[in-house]
Amino acid sequence: MTYFQMTKTVLKSLFSRPATLMYPAKPAKKTTLTRGHVTIDPEKCIACRSCQRKCPTQAICVEPKEKTWQIDRLRCIVCNCCVEVCPTKCLAMDTQYTAAMTTRAGILKVTVAGPKKKEPAPAES
């Protein structure tokens, strides 16, 4: 048993910067692969419902007749599955996490271009 073994660690901790970030004053660490939340480019979406079929939590709801694409952020487990199956690559993964919510909200409904016609009307609600 030697003495003052911890002194090294103590001195190191004393004279180095904190190991933690002052979040949210400083932004959290992110990488290019970080799965934050799903985003959609409404102009490219053809409402094929592939994402809805593959979603393991049934968070996505697509209505081809009404040309809407809807995601429930509270159901979504950010697994990247819909992004991988999307045939037109209109879905993408953003690295920013969605903010915490205090009510049961977080449903994002988007009017998309739809199956045939090309309507550039990406109105978010």
Partner: protein, 359 residues
């Protein structure tokens, strides 16, 4: 005989943030019986397998546990691949091994921290988690998730790691080794920690075997069971020896986990040296028809996934037996006859993860 009293322990307890309740029957300060009850967080994940197609269910399988998440998805994928006779590309096998060992590293560091916190050694807890952060950073850079990686899929893995990144990862781990030695020495050599752990909660080799202990709990009692030796993923091509201690007390279980950190680093290093070029996934068509017991070594011990399919896209049955569940009978045996003050240390020494024990 003195009067018996019952003390409830958990699910809300400062040293045990796990959904398990233990009724401790005490005579004075001595525990004479412990009655565990689980069932606080049942989520019905196994039933969900009938409603989701088998390639998508892997996301659910991964979310069974929040610590050994990657190995759950790996085991599930292995089971499906065995039923469907899919030969996974070799590079994918090696990548699976690397990520498995990374999740073992982060789980063991988490446990060492929690264990130190459980006996009131808070600065070691902070240090262990500081080191764990480097492991999590590497996991996030390579997979996109810190604890839920989501990289394993039936037929391979989703993401590849570049050779430069692999070298950088090994360099990072090698650079961490001195700090890890400092941390591990606190557990193995410090006299006050030794006093707290030695001779506390001794599990005899015979008891460990008959009660079905797995993982570090069994290896701490001298039983050299390590499912990695069966050679799943790329473990068959790697040289390593399971860490076995013979004392069977809390110190031995702690020593097993502490020494396994270095085994894991060694395995990752060997994998990076041997990893071949090539594809990381193959296209999977059809559906599983048959049944299989897939086994893998988690940080806490052996996990078994039973998978049964009938040729349709949805499986018929999926059953998981997690290591914590099978470590509960040894825990009850350990608690009988110990002091009340030793209960937190003994319960933590089996590394309980009750959240995944009942799904």
């Amino acid at each position: 005989m003195s009067k018996q009293i019952t003390v409830p322990f958990g699910p809300q307890h400062p040293v045990l943030p796990e959904p398990i309740h233990l009724d401790l029957v005490l005579e004075d300060e001595r525990v004479v019986d412990a009655i565990p009850s689980i069932g606080y967080v049942h989520r019905g994940l196994e039933k969900l397998v009938e409603k989701r197609e088998y390639p998508e269910y892997i996301y659910v399988a991964e979310r069974i546990c929040g610590i050994c998440s990657y190995i759950h998805s790996n085991t599930y994928a292995q089971g499906i691949e065995k039923i469907m006779n899919i030969e996974v590309p070799e590079r994918a096998q090696y990548l699976r091994t690397i990520w498995s060992e990374y999740s073992r590293l982060h789980s063991h560091l988490l446990w060492l921290g929690l264990f130190a916190d459980g006996m009131g050694f808070e600065s070691v807890f902070m240090n262990a988690w500081k080191l764990r952060e480097h492991i999590l950073d590497d996991l996030e850079v390579t997979t996109g998730g810190r604890v839920i990686q989501g990289v394993c899929k039936v037929g391979g893995v989703r993401r590849d790691i570049t050779p430069e990144k692999l070298d950088e990862m090994v360099k990072g781990l090698k650079g961490m080794e001195p700090a890890l030695h400092d941390l591990v020495n606190v557990f193995l050599k410090d006299s006050s920690v030794s006093h707290r752990l030695r001779g506390v909660g001794t599990l005899q080799k015979g008891d460990a075997y008959t009660l079905g202990a797995v993982g570090p709990t069994a290896r701490g009692s001298g039983i050299g069971i390590d499912i990695r030796e069966t050679g799943y993923a790329a473990y068959g091509k790697i040289n390593f020896k399971p860490v076995v201690e013979h004392d069977g007390d809390c110190y031995a279980r702690c020593a097993v986990r502490a020494k396994e950190l270095f085994t894991s680093i060694d395995i990752i290093e060997q994998c990076v040296k041997k990893i071949p070029e090539g594809p990381v996934e193959i296209k999977v068509t059809g559906a599983p028809d048959g049944e299989y017991f897939a086994r893998a070594e988690q940080p806490r011990g052996e996990v078994v996934h039973y998978i049964k399919g009938n040729g349709k896209r949805n499986l018929v049955r999926h059953r998981v037996r997690t290591p914590t569940f099978t470590n509960l009978p040894p825990l009850v045996t350990l608690l009988k006859g110990c002091e009340l003050a030793d209960v937190p240390v003994i319960v933590l020494s089996i590394d309980p993860c009750v959240g995944c024990a009942e799904r």
